[in-house]
């Protein structure tokens, strides 16, 4: 396992460096100038050129690349061209905000999706199966921005029971830890629902399909013949075997944790990675975009790695071998 992890780490590092190099050159070669924000008659063109020199943007591109890569490999993500603050500080602010939202959303996505899938598979073609399938697909088909606005209209404006935007109410931090926690929880409900539950139909369909395949197996018939309860059959025998594709999906969803959800963040005024990324792209804030790219690439690799390890844990027949992949 250790050799496997080390080999994967080496491969991953190479992959990340290739991705970042491509991103670096694509960003710099795309039209647009990070100094555009200073293009104003109140600022002398000579001053703008001095600022360009200060940020190193006057150097040849290849020189900028090596300078940036050198800093990056030392763990220095550089300074934001837009905020003139260390990129690390910006990520340190945005990442926790995004994680709050996306972890909650992912948890809802998995719990609701898997439960719905199990129920549908256990009661195949029943009214429950049909209703839950249609309902989930209906919510899945609705554009997230429309769903978000409708939920705000209903719960915030009409019923007034949930807040419409932001992560917390004004001044709540002064009221103590528990009120802050409850306030933040109330702010989390709507955006997490939009991100998580609305997409759960996809997970439900995968789980249902996977469960149905497993429920046809002989060992399931054997388990039932032995007199085990339906719950034990489903959860102890069927689910574990049906979980492999589900684990793949969960692994592929890990990057979403920090990739952010731009539309949802925008509508709910949630200051996370999604907003930071989009705003930085528009502003041509190269250091921030590259740092975010790095973080997301890392999450993709981590997600795949966790999926592989999850496979090995779920299915004893699967081993993570010295070849670096899975084998059974």
């Amino acid at each position: 396992m250790t050799i496997f992890l080390l080999k994967r780490a080496g491969q991953s590092l190479l992959l990340v460096l290739i991705v970042l190099t491509i991103t670096f050159f694509m960003l710099h070669l795309a039209p647009g100038d990070p100094m555009a924000r200073y293009y104003h008659p109140d600022i002398s063109p000579d001053t703008v050129e001095l600022m360009r020199e200060q940020f190193g943007l006057d150097k040849p591109l290849i020189q900028q690349y090596f300078y940036w890569m050198g800093s990056f490999l030392r763990g220095d993500f550089g300074v934001s061209l837009r905020y003139n603050r260390p990129v690390r500080a910006l990520l340190a602010q945005a990442i926790p905000n995004t994680l709050r939202l996306t972890v909650a959303a992912l948890a809802l996505y998995i719990i609701v999706g898997v439960l719905l899938g199990i129920m549908s598979a256990a009661r195949r073609y029943s009214l429950l199966d049909r209703l839950s399938t249609v309902g989930a697909l209906f919510v899945y088909s609705i554009p997230s921005f429309w769903l978000a606005l409708m939920l705000i209209l209903l719960f915030s404006l009409k019923l007034g029971i949930l807040p419409s935007s932001h992560m917390q109410s004004l001044g709540v931090s002064a009221r103590g830890a528990f009120p802050l926690f409850m306030d933040r929880l109330s702010h989390l409900i709507l955006p997490a629902f939009v991100l998580g539950v609305a997409s759960a139909a996809g997970m439900a369909r995968y789980t249902r399909g996977s469960m149905l395949d497993v429920l046809r197996e002989d060992y399931i018939r054997t388990a039932r013949a032995k007199g085990l309860s339906e719950g034990q059959v489903l959860l102890k025998h069927a689910l574990r075997n049906a979980a492999l594709p589900v684990v793949t999906i969960i692994g592929l969803s890990i990057p979403f944790l920090l990739g952010g959800a731009v539309i949802t963040e925008k509508i709910f005024s949630w200051p996370g990675m999604g907003q930071l990324t989009v705003d930085s792209i528009y502003a041509r804030d190269y250091p921030v975009v590259l740092a975010v790219n790095f973080v997301v690439a890392l999450m993709v690799i981590l997600g795949n790695l966790l999926a592989d390890i999850g496979y090995a844990l779920l299915d004893p027949r699967i081993k993570v071998g010295p070849g670096g992949g899975r084998s059974s």
Binding site: P31, G32, D33, A36, R37, Y38, Y39, H40, P41, D42, I43, S44, P45, D46, T47, V48, E49, L50, M51, Q54, V79, R82, Y83, N84, R85, P86, Q93, N97, L157, S164, S165, H166, M167, Q168, S169, L170, G171, S173, K266, I267, S269, W270, P271, Q275, Y282, A283, R284
Partner: protein
């Protein structure tokens, strides 16, 4: 006799009582400012930075002007000043020295006195070539800043010109003990919370992307002010949500209200007071004179005649804008109010284009000259609905006079790149001009250089000469006619089709008293705003 005295005393006593009662009722009508209350301001964008050495954002300036004092406060005529950190000032007879006498009661929020040494240290930071402050060119004619004593500081100039006081005043004063304890790069990167303040407010909390909370700075030199307990700038990055929260009372104040909302707000929200005044911005359509189609002023005039600017103002701005007839704005002292706008006259436009050799030879409804169609790309940036609408209206209007317009919308930085490198035909853009009357940065022949702001490549030696002369005149009354003449020439030449000067529209809940927004800043006297205790409300 005794009876007469009694009557006299009785009458005098009654008179005194009446006078006392009258005085009491007068003071009851004039409400006294009350302490307390919270103001919640809705803002569509968070501030990238509030560090005065780093940010160039006008909205950020509105806030940091509440945290830091500049030497003087600029009046809304952009010509005169009021005391602020400096209680008085005077020029030497030759105008090469400008002496400021500072208040002695100004203290930084860390308890240290604000002195002339802070003024000197600020100047050094502003002109530091390693720090590269965005306004450093404004101090180029200041040789040095000399401290005479703790409360007296002298600026020495190399050059006499009309804007010495204005340039010196640009940029707030920052503490020496902050500026000299850090490298230039660290000064620029410093978070606002690290910098001691001396203005009426200080920052209590800044939750990025959520809210910025200001509270009174207890060291502020005016006792009893600010009156408000708290001012919260609540970030709501969606305009519809902002308007909704203004209507519902979740926010008390909002600027940049879309003109289409004003009638609705006035009718359905009588508790809101709407402030409306012109801005220092103007929206224009730039014609790239490097394109042979737009090389001649007469052709540009004809195109302007084909654009119904009044319709644009009425339809898109609901009347909350004025037609622009000058590269200056009406707020500026040098503005020429006598220039008659080129009328909307499609027939007149067709006639001029015909005289310039354009004709519809192939009968497709569009004019050609020398085999080349009168056709061009009209650029503007995405994300600005009003500019996109202007694009649509201009396209339709010019089509009526035989001009084919291809509207192109692109991302702001890409559009700016095309504009800066003169790789465009025509573009819709806007300028927010400074308070100084100087046309050289946008209209000078020198400004056509790479990175300059003369992106229509306009060059008129008469304009350059008159501008250079006018900018040296210390007497604004003498300079005014020269500036008027320059504006006439530029308007005649039509390097831009000057579209309109938009108004600033700002709403404030009537509960809040004492607000006097002006074209310099909505919040310049925020420390004097107050709300009656019974109306205090809050978060």
């Amino acid at each position: 006799m005794n009876i007469d005295r009694k009557i006299f005393r009785g009458a005098a006593g009654c008179l005194v009582v009446v006078l006392i009662l009258a005085a009491g009722s007068c003071s009851g009508r004039r409400k006294a400012a009350q302490r307390g209350g919270t103001l919640i301001v809705g803002e569509i964008n968070d501030y990238e930075s509030l560090n005065p050495m780093q940010t160039t954002d006008a909205h950020a300036r509105d806030v940091y002007d509440l945290l830091f004092l500049s030497l003087l406060y600029e009046n809304e005529d952009f010509l005169t000043f009021k005391p602020r950190l400096a209680k008085s000032w005077e020029f030497s007879p030759d105008r090469k020295r400008l002496t400021f006498h500072l208040r002695r009661d100004v203290v930084w929020s860390d308890g240290q006195k604000c002195t002339a040494y802070d003024v000197q240290a600020t100047f050094r930071a502003q002109t530091d070539p390693e720090l590269v402050w965005s306004g450093r060119h404004l101090k180029q004619h200041v040789d040095s800043v000399e401290v005479i004593d703790d409360w007296t500081v002298v600026y020495h100039f190399s050059h006499i010109y009309p804007y010495q006081l204005m340039d010196v005043n640009d940029g707030p004063i920052l503490p020496k003990h902050f500026l000299e304890s850090r490298e230039p790069a660290q000064i620029k990167m410093a978070a606002i919370e690290e910098i001691p303040v001396n203005g009426p407010f200080r920052i209590e909390e800044w939750v990025k992307g959520q809210s910025l909370t200001l509270v009174p700075n207890r060291y502020y030199y005016e006792p009893g002010k600010p009156y408000l307990d708290k001012v919260i700038f609540k970030i709501i990055p969606d305009q519809t949500t902002l308007i909704t929260q203004l209507r519902s009372g979740e926010i008390d104040c909002m600027e940049s209200i879309p003109p289409r909302e004003i009638e609705n707000l006035s009718r359905n929200n009588p508790e809101l007071k709407i402030f409306d005044f012109p801005t220092r911005a103007y929206i224009y359509l730039a014609w790239n004179s490097l394109n042979p189609l737009f090389a001649e002023p007469r052709v540009r005039r004809a195109l302007t005649m084909g654009i119904d600017r009044k319709l644009i103002i009425d339809n898109l701005y609901y009347g909350f804008a004025e037609e622009c007839t000058s590269p200056f704005v009406p707020l500026l002292w040098a503005y020429n109010p006598n220039i008659q706008a080129i009328p909307y006259d499609p027939e007149g436009a067709r006639k001029i284009l015909a005289e310039e050799g354009f004709a519809d030879a192939d009968g497709d409804g569009f004019l050609e000259r020398g085999g080349r169609k009168l056709e061009f790309d009209l650029l503007t940036n995405q994300g600005n609905q009003i500019r996109n609408d202007i694009q649509v209206m201009v396209t339709a209007q010019l089509e009526k006079i035989g001009v084919k317009v291809n509207p192109v919308v692109m991302e702001w930085t890409v559009m700016l790149e095309r504009y800066k490198t003169s790789q465009y035909d025509a573009v819709i853009n806007a300028w927010r001009i400074g308070t100084k009357a100087d046309l050289a940065p946008i209209w000078g022949c020198e400004a056509r250089r790479e990175g300059g702001y003369n992106r229509v490549n306009y060059c008129n030696q008469v304009v350059d000469s008159l501008n250079a002369l006018a900018c040296q005149m210390l007497d604004f009354d003498e300079a005014r006619p020269l500036f008027h003449r320059i504006q006439e020439i530029i308007y005649q030449d039509q390097p831009y089709t000057f579209l309109y000067v938009p108004h600033a529209l700002f709403a404030l809940d009537n509960r809040f008293q004492g607000a006097r927004p002006d074209p310099i800043s909505m919040y310049h006297n925020l420390y004097e705003w107050w709300v009656a205790k019974s109306d205090a409300g809050g978060e």
